[in-house]
Symmetry: C2
Subunit: 350 residues, 2 copies
DNA sequence: AGCGAAAATTGAACCGATACAAGGATGGTG
DNA sequence: CACCATCCTTGTATCGGTTCAATTTTCGCT
């Protein structure tokens, strides 16, 4: 393909200066109608598509788009219910500002670093599902404003919006314990990259991902408050896939003393559990109570609707987007309150 | 904020030419280690974040990102199950190419035109839910490769991937008719912008959106094949919101002769119908059969699982993305086959 | 030490636009 | 008719890089 037409070609063809040609496209009212028409005619003639944003961008500096970054594959944004809920609220804020969204992710870390370095955006929102620290590191090098959607385990100089993981989990745990459950199991997220299955106390201590650890500690704190030995509650790591959750459930419900309550560290895991139990005619909440974490919309319409600790998802996404688009100055950290939503998946043990 | 550091500043500080400084960042192996270190030191000293992609972009020409455009608000990408399924497959193709995704949309048409004009991408995938023609018009002006996810109603010179709407709908209709249903109702998508509720034959003829019309004609053709007067089947326009679907259902099931089968023009509508019917203890498929359209993943796990005409969603997204990223030459049009998936939401009338 | 090949560096052109100060045309006024 | 105020237009600098031909340095070898 031969060289594309550019503004200066059009200007030359129309016999005007490049500056005037530029104005004809961007501020048509300040160029004399007759001249403007000549320029438009020339543009049409040459097949000029209008000023190329690549050029404008360089001059203008501002992109008017925000990058949302995750370490997972791109599909995560459209498949994971929590991610979707956050993205929806980010979207709304962007719609208001008339800004765009660029999705940034990558298969491997090297690619990710490059993608972050080369994303054409005004700032980043970091989806720190796990491994947040590394993501922050990578993004910091870019020296653009960014904000992490996770508060804990990140140093104080970093803007972040999140929740108090420990006490949120404790809230969930208290709800279950207050109902009278004494045999509970914890379905956790990853503590260490790529690891799934049952985990010991020692492994929790050694956890790479502080979010998961803090939530476990929160659950356990609630047990202790109710006089239960936290060590008796089995913990299973899952990675958000059905397979990992189902393996954990198979083990739990294959034992001679299955739990009467499941503390799930995400609604996604909770929903998978609900499906698994229903398929096996294990009644929820009759035989076993299930509580999730996150407060995604899908939990409202599940069968039965899922009790959960709802994060202020809408507020988190909106605030994060507003901060980036509004041009942050200082690092800003915010801890938002969660909300226990009791639905039909929890009840006193039968 | 004072002027940002740029490559030439670093070069000057390190006492090398700008070209060498550039190489130090992009092809470190070709600059002498000792010089490279000096440059890196200078960069560190000055707080240089590495070459700004905005600059590189202009020179390189290629963005390595694809824009996905819709006329709906941005949230559509994360909420609508069909959109999500397509986005997931586009995502996979992008992951393979290491490309990014930019979401383009806008509240009003003027904004949309601007966003399309100024999107920094190598090409577009157009989500023509409805009003596809207008979207194509806007995008064509940009003179970048683009491909529409809808075949019909678009002129032959435009690249597109889609299905045969008429015969796909006829397939759905035949399934229902073959089961023995004679009282059916059609839950259509929009025929005309912003219009919902019951529609007459005349209105179908006058429809702005050809996709909806062709599918209606397909349903009706199936009825005729089975000796049913197509005019007896009521048609309701919906706009994908629960409210519009529920209003239609209320009217249908409030009448003295409710339908025994619902031909839904999207799975989303079908799933909403399923919820509504379940809430009212109307048995599916005992009292009424429901068939959807699209083949989204949610239909597999609904209660009951939804019979549907599945579009080859994965193939559509992948092919579209590959075409854009692979550098299309000629316009390319492809009609993909659909697949009737019979699940538990359809049966012979009771 | 001298020579030629290979490796490293330079400098300027270029990517495609926008901004802005300065210059020219137009028109109204005394 | 001179003069000043408006309104357009022009030319050039700039945004922040990459590229490439030309030049200089380095290095191995006789």
């Amino acid at each position: 393909m031969k060289r594309a037409i550019k503004l200066s070609d059009v200007a030359k063809a129309a016999g005007v200066s490049q500056g005037t040609a530029s104005n004809a496209f961007n501020r048509p009212e300040i160029v004399r109608p007759e001249v403007r028409e000549r320029i438009e005619a020339a543009a049409r003639e040459l097949g000029y598509a209008g000023p190329d944003p690549k050029g404008r961008l360089l001059r203008a500096g501002k992109v008017n788009a925000i990058g949302v970054v995750t370490t997972s594959p791109l599909g995560y944004f459209f498949e994971d219910p929590y991610a979707r809920a956050i993205m929806t609220s980010i979207s709304e804020a962007c719609d208001v500002h008339g800004a765009g969204i660029s999705l940034v992710s990558a298969a491997n870390e090297e690619k990710l670093a490059w993608n972050i370095q080369s994303a054409i955006v005004d700032g980043f929102i970091l989806f720190c599902i796990e491994g947040g620290a590394r993501l922050v590191e990578l993004t910091r090098e870019r020296r653009l404003p960014f904000i992490a959607l996770q508060l804990e385990g990140l140093d104080e100089t970093i803007s972040a919006i999140g929740i108090d993981e420990f006490s949120s989990a404790r809230t969930a745990g208290r709800h279950i314990m207050a109902l009278g459950h004494r045999d509970v199991a914890i379905l956790a997220l990853e503590l260490t990259e790529g690891h799934i299955g049952p985990v010991s106390e020692t492994e929790v201590d050694a956890a790479l991902y502080s979010t998961t650890r803090n939530r476990i500690r929160g659950y356990q704190a609630a047990m202790v408050e109710f006089g239960v030995d936290a060590a008796t509650a089995p913990i299973f790591e899952t990675d958000h896939t059905s397979a990992s959750v189902e393996a954990a459930l198979a083990e739990l419900f294959g034992s001679d003393r299955p739990p009467t309550a499941l503390l799930c560290m995400s609604d996604r895991v909770g929903l998978i559990a609900l499906d698994w139990l229903r398929a096996r005619k294990i009644s929820v909440p009759g035989d076993v109570s299930v509580i999730g974490f996150d407060g995604v919309p899908d939990g409202e319409i599940s069968n039965p609707p899922l009790t959960t600790v709802a994060q202020p998802i809408a507020a988190m996404g909106r605030q994060a987007a507003d901060m980036i688009l509004g041009g942050m100055n200082e690092p800003h950290r915010e801890q938002l309150p969660v909300d226990l939503i009791v639905r039909a998946s929890t009840a006193a043990p039968g």
